[in-house]
Symmetry: C4
Subunit: 276 residues, 4 copies
């Protein structure tokens, strides 16, 4: 019997709660998979309905109908969730509750305010539910392994990011002075130069903003080489972190001195010598 | 005597089977190497015959002749394979059997349907046979080491790919709304925006689709920084996986001295010399 | 009592010195954080004041006023630092002392020489103080970990960089000869070709300088593949260095059981419990 | 006394040989450093002399003079090397001997054939001598560490490269068919498409060759994602190799069974249990 079951709560609500909110039972799993497929299809409808060819008949009517089908489906699901959950307000204000509401609102809003159906793209966020559905599988545990690697490296990343920010600011200012005086409109202001600096350092290199002066070109090549570190350094750090986090240090604590961080093959506490 | 040999099967077929299908004997090896060279040459002919200068005489005739030479050669090889193999149907429906057939069909088809010789590029797929030929060498064992590293990381990659997909969808929708209302034709639909998002996040940056609004430029720089993770994160994960798969240390402990960390091929304790 | 305290030095100066130059006390920490915020805001003002819209009223006056507010603030801080420090000359000629002076000079200079306010961007360098402020935290220790990894790899990086330089020079010379004779103006001189080579090898690929001849295109593809090593090789080296520097395992052996592989912080043998 | 010294060989030649060919003595080191500087300067002269501004007086005369100064210097050095070495022919046909000759020939050739001074860029190759000069330092040992890592990974790299080649061929053929029929001139032939495929997969993305059809754009995005593996996979492999090559397995062989590959901390043979 689920934890939330209680005498003054109808059993069918408990049953529905289990199906809609949990993924342990067969029915719950089936519901979740069906939901993910529905979300994927609704996102596909929103994406494809923006194509120019979707603006003409008969596609227009088809997409219009499909959008409303999914809106009604998701609305029914939202109302059902509110009914079966014990604390409706808590769900409604939760992260997924807000996304669930936001994904149906634009359709209804478009009746009053034509054009607001554009906001229906917020439905994309419902895809995040995919992580939730597979919560009990190892998918999320892997995500948290990544999160941990990032967390451990956060200071190094902070030092690195600050350095990168200063490099971008200095390079942008320099290019603004150098190229700006050469009448290169693309470097008219420092924010414009910063757009160039980021597009260049990350090696995207659209080519819409390019240096024309000799000093500008030399600065560009230097900046590009710095941009390389932008890949190399964090890659190295993260690799090392992940490699490290694999080498499992046990979480055993010494009974005598409470020291932690013992190797998996340790039989005695390395701090006080007591048997582990 | 090969496993497939049997009384009611001509010995010359067994002999030919050994040469054509296996690579253990000297003749089999020679056949395979000759085949790989023929495939490489036929691919070169297909590639070069598309050059504008190959459309005029005398090159046209040369390429035409060469293409038929390779077609006849490969047809002969295909028929031979069907004859010598014990279960022709099984070969014909196998992966390599289908590719072998597909690589000769377009030439014959072009007699009936002019223009279908273009499909001859499918011959490129025969290059995959190179892996088969070196099957018994360590080449494939290395490929499977890679495959294993990918397999072990598959959940992390799945979590990552889903996140990337959602980021692309959200960024595309946002840019469609922002740039679309600024009359930037390149962001006319979400699929168009998705093309831009992928070209940008992977740092290819052709420059055929670029943001023109301030909000669009800021979104671009943010997306580019996310795109960076697209390199950094999987690189780190894969490095760590490969590093890990190298360390084949067993968890056996020595019965005499309790030492651990023995190599997988160790038969005696490296600390005290006792039998493991 | 701080080390620099002495009888013939006013106590308020010692107290101010502690606040301004150190970050151990609560007041010192507060001063540093306030300073970093002020630097960030002043940099934001310099960056935004270059926008075209900032050239028209009322923004122009606002930015003008803000720039002078920060200039006066930083001037006061600079003078205060000179007063409270025991060896003013030493501070004035130190790295941060010079930057502090350079960040206020342009504003005063602009009174005599209109246009020199452009140099105010040098204020960006004050952001480097952020590293100083968090000196006592682990931020800088992480930076030095990176520095160490770079230091250990310096010979490999040197060998690699020399190879890259030679590749760039040879490719540039080749492209200058090949494309130059095809009237491709972008390869008019070897320095121009070097700009192309660096933009190409680092995969930025603006598209402002591109090969037009067949030989030029083949050279480009070869160079691009070499450019790939520019990422792969140092990434690999750095990852390995950082991974290595993590493994701080001592080479001490246990006197009792001869077990090795103890952590640097181990005081007892993890195998037999004897004192190391 | 050097190994090559002999009674019928003038002592001054031995002395000069030591200076010119070796780097152990103080004079030899000084000669090598002076030579590297001269090579760098001569390369700089060749590079800068291609600038448009170097074609007009007085720069033209200055560069002309400098080029001849270095030519005469290197000619003198070349003749000296031939005189002092015991086997002149062996030196003349060695790698560095050929480069030394090639770097002076174009200048003399330009007297007979105006325009051949362009070949002077071959002088750049002399920079390779920098590795030779530092031969006895650890620089080259680091280069060989890299070479070893590449050598160990060669099979994996081979498998990977073949896969990449096949992907490029298939993508190029597909794009040639798809875009070629859409009148996109840039995909007129498969070799042209291959140029596009390499520029795209390596994320250079000049933007001179871009897809215009929907199928072309989808193929492009898929190819770009494959191109990503082009970075990720070899980076991971190389990182792991270098990390591995650090973990020093001793080269001690067991006296009893000749087994190798013992850990640094092993005291007994892991194969036969004999004391190491």
């Amino acid at each position: 019997m689920p934890e939330h079951a209680s005498p003054n709560f109808a059993p069918w609500r408990d049953r529905l709660h289990e199906i809609i909110f949990e993924a342990d039972t067969k029915a719950g799993k089936a519901f979740d998979v069906a939901l993910i497929i529905a979300i994927f299809l609704s996102v596909a409808v929103v994406v494809l309905s923006t194509l120019p060819s979707a603006a003409s008949e008969p596609y227009r009517s088809v997409f219009y109908t499909l959008e409303w089908v999914f809106t009604i489906l998701f609305t029914a699901e939202y109302i059902l969730r509110l009914i079966v959950v014990r604390r409706p307000w808590r769900y409604a204000t939760s992260f997924f509750g807000v996304i669930d509401l936001l994904s149906i609102l634009p359709a209804f809003l478009s009746i009053l305010l034509p054009g607001s159906e554009r906001l229906m793209v917020v439905r994309t966020l419902r895809l995040l539910r995919i992580f939730r559905v597979f919560k009990l599988t190892r998918y999320l545990s892997e995500a948290s392994a990544l999160r941990e690697a990032f967390y451990i490296s956060r200071h190094k990343i902070a030092v690195f990011m600050t350095t990168v920010l200063i490099v971008i600011l200095i390079a942008s200012s320099l290019m603004h002075v150098v190229e700006g005086s050469a009448q290169n409109e693309a470097f008219d202001s420092i924010p414009d130069s910063m757009y160039w600096a980021i597009i260049t350092m990350t090696t995207v290199g659209y080519g819409d903003v390019i240096p024309v002066t000799v000093v500008g070109k030399i600065t560009t090549t230097l900046l590009v080489l710095v941009g390389y570190s932008l890949i190399i350094v964090p890659t190295g750090i993260l690799s090392a972190e992940i490699t490290d986090s694999r080498r499992k240090v046990t979480t055993r604590a010494c009974g005598a001195c409470m020291a932690e961080g013992h190797d998996a093959d340790a039989r005695f506490c390395k701090k006080c010598g007591a048997v582990l």
